[in-house]
Symmetry: C2
Amino acid sequence: MECQTEEQIKQHAKELFFSRGALDASTQEIADFAGVNRTLVNYYFRSKKNLFRIVYNEAIMEMRKSYARIYVSDISFREKVEALIDFTAEFRENYPFLEIFNIQETGKLNNQLETVLQPTSMQETAFFLKEIEEEMQKGTIPVYEPVNFLINIFSLISFPIVMKPIFREIFCISTEEQYHKIYNQRKEMVMTILFNNVNQ
Amino acid sequence: MECQTEEQIKQHAKELFFSRGALDASTQEIADFAGVNRTLVNYYFRSKKNLFRIVYNEAIMEMRKSYARIYVSDISFREKVEALIDFTAEFRENYPFLEIFNIQETGKLNNQLETVLQPTSMQETAFFLKEIEEEMQKGTIPVYEPVNFLINIFSLISFPIVMKPIFREIFCISTEEQYHKIYNQRKEMVMTILFNNVNQ
DNA sequence: ACCTTTGTTGACAATTTTGTCAAACAAAGT
DNA sequence: ACTTTGTTTGACAAAATTGTCAACAAAGGT
């Protein structure tokens, strides 16, 4: 028995939640979207919350593993930053609602989601933060709290994707292509911001 | 009759939704939080959706008016940017979940929220965008698509607040104060990024 | 005092959503 | 052919949530 139904539900739930933003989808909607009987959602995952948890953990794990890999990979610092930018942009494009769900859940009191942050991912992050500090001492990049360097990358790359619909409205950007053109200009700009900005 | 109950419900709903992130709160929870009978929510606002709409519109209007005021105020460009940074930080601190709600709703098909973007706010935005362009020509700030200048401000200031719980987890920032310290360093840093970064 | 308007409440009905269960089904092994 | 195992289904019950309604209270004006 191949048990592809379980995978099918998971994949479709993932897309429904984190790509389309239907975080409040009912089990019926989830089942319909996956093309299966509603009862199967309960059969394979017991409850909706459980399905959430599993799918969410998988997505987060996937993401954090990728980051960890980049943090300790055997390339130059500048290349690492480029890789971080590319991966962040691509991942956010695929799952624009993942962090939104994350934020919402993290803030809640009945936070059912166990912390997925495996100690590995932490070590890699610490490693890269040390590398950032070294680059600051070398004078390659401006000096401030190392985490702020990472926060800058994530902010400058992620936020414009997450906020796309709102920015398009505020700035009257009618077509998707127009926004895409503006966004694409950013990757180079962000590199300039991160590196060229050594003051004094 | 002073009709303070209506205001009471609105204020508490606003806090519940946009400060605490309980976007999926039931009418019962809303009523409880406001300290009134549940039926009164329907009495004053007909339906929960309607309450959402009203409260949301008020918050957004308040925000956009403030931005518009800054955009056309009679201060130097640099001071405007400073004012934008301060206001954005403060407003996001108060309502960290406002945009999240916005994003979720905007993405949905049955988007009940009429566009609140009054033409006024648009004019002011356009005005400031032109000012940004002029500054680019003067050489005060690096040259790229003017909207990207604004997007940079919003991203660098808003995202770290919205993502606070996640960043604290990822970077192992145990105390609120620690994060606050790191965040406060950003305002100055962002100014440096926005202005000092004129390449060649 | 009376009437009207406004505000408030508890009870009710309708709808939605969830999870469970027993029965049906398919595929494989014996 | 028979059993076992895992999968799928429809029907059911329980719970939660929503909006409405009629009754009740408070206040103010006439």
